[in-house]
Symmetry: C2
Subunit: 164 residues, 2 copies
DNA sequence: CTTGGAAAGTCAACAAGGCTGACGTAAATT
DNA sequence: AATTTACGTCAGCCTTGTTGACTTTCCAAG
């Protein structure tokens, strides 16, 4: 057994273990996105639309620039998906009252319906995985994921966790 | 506390908890790919090349069709990245001896060097996350990820885990 | 009140990396 | 001999990312 002076077993840090973790992330992420992808194909939307829908639902009234910093894409890229969803009546964009330069984004009823369909599917998979693994495992899952984020992303993540 | 007839606490299965897990996956995956992406930008390669390099390194001599089923892309898509890497002398492709229709793929020394650079960076992040979270958390992390995979992907994952 | 700069939106052009469809070739299998 | 398999390739398309340049709107500071 590989033991440190401190006495902890560090077998979980071998290159082999790390490789397995890397591959697990790769395959799991495919599963993670598979259901929404399936729902969206044929609906003219893609993963980029799903991400926007998710975070608008999550933080109704959020601004474009806030969304930009969460999604980490350029405004041109975000604007493209936002525009189609506004045209299609999934998203409502309204001028800010305190700062009229900002656009506050909301899902319309139609947008809510699609969000529901997508998140139901994604939650169902997550729920099944959580249930299969158990609460203890879920806690570890969350700890490792959070430790894996860039500090900037972790800030975003924790800001979302609490207030809207 | 939400208790089932069985007596288990199911608070970890609330929609809110599931949403946090979903967002954690999203932000963590960004971190997961950030370092290799940074290394590859400016090198004419992208994430697709990284994936191919990883699995060729992982299973030297693997065939094109095997790689196809692991990566889950079309042969045209894979062929594009494979061709450039063969031209650039990162990957060697040789006819099979037992079945000459197959092409067996290996990394050249140059390919090994790039693989090293990429996987060192990715492992460093994974190692830091594992170390911060601890062995117990790592086990849970792996359990949840594995449960999240599609059965087909889980088969691939477990086939890789053992033999090459 | 003017002006500087931030926020938002738009146009154009491009690249990576997915996809489908069609076709060709060599080798294995039936 | 005919069919199937593994691989490669051409052509064309889509999504989603990028840069760069530009305009409009509007807040805030001088």
């Amino acid at each position: 057994m590989a033991e440190t002076p401190g006495g902890e077993n560090l077998l979980f840090l071998t290159d082999e273990q790390l490789r397995k973790g890397i591959e697990a992330m790769f395959f799991a992420y495919r599963g993670f996105t598979a259901d929404p992808d399936r729902i969206l194909e044929g609906k003219d939307y893609g993963r980029a639309h799903h991400r926007a829908i998710h975070f608008i639902h999550r933080s109704p009234g959020t601004t474009v620039s806030n969304l930009l910093s969460i999604l980490g894409v350029t405004k041109q890229s975000l604007n493209r998906v936002l525009r189609t969803m506004i045209e299609d009546g999934l998203v409502r964009s309204e001028k800010g009252k305190v700062d009229a330069r900002e656009r506050h984004l909301h899902l319309t009823d139609k947008g809510q319906m699609l969000e529901r369909e997508l998140s139901d599917a994604q939650r169902a998979r997550m729920r099944a995985a959580y249930r299969a693994a158990g609460p203890q495992a879920v806690q570890g899952f969350r700890q490792v994921l959070e430790a894996m984020m860039d500090p900037e992303m972790r800030r975003q993540f924790n800001r979302l966790k609490d207030g809207g």
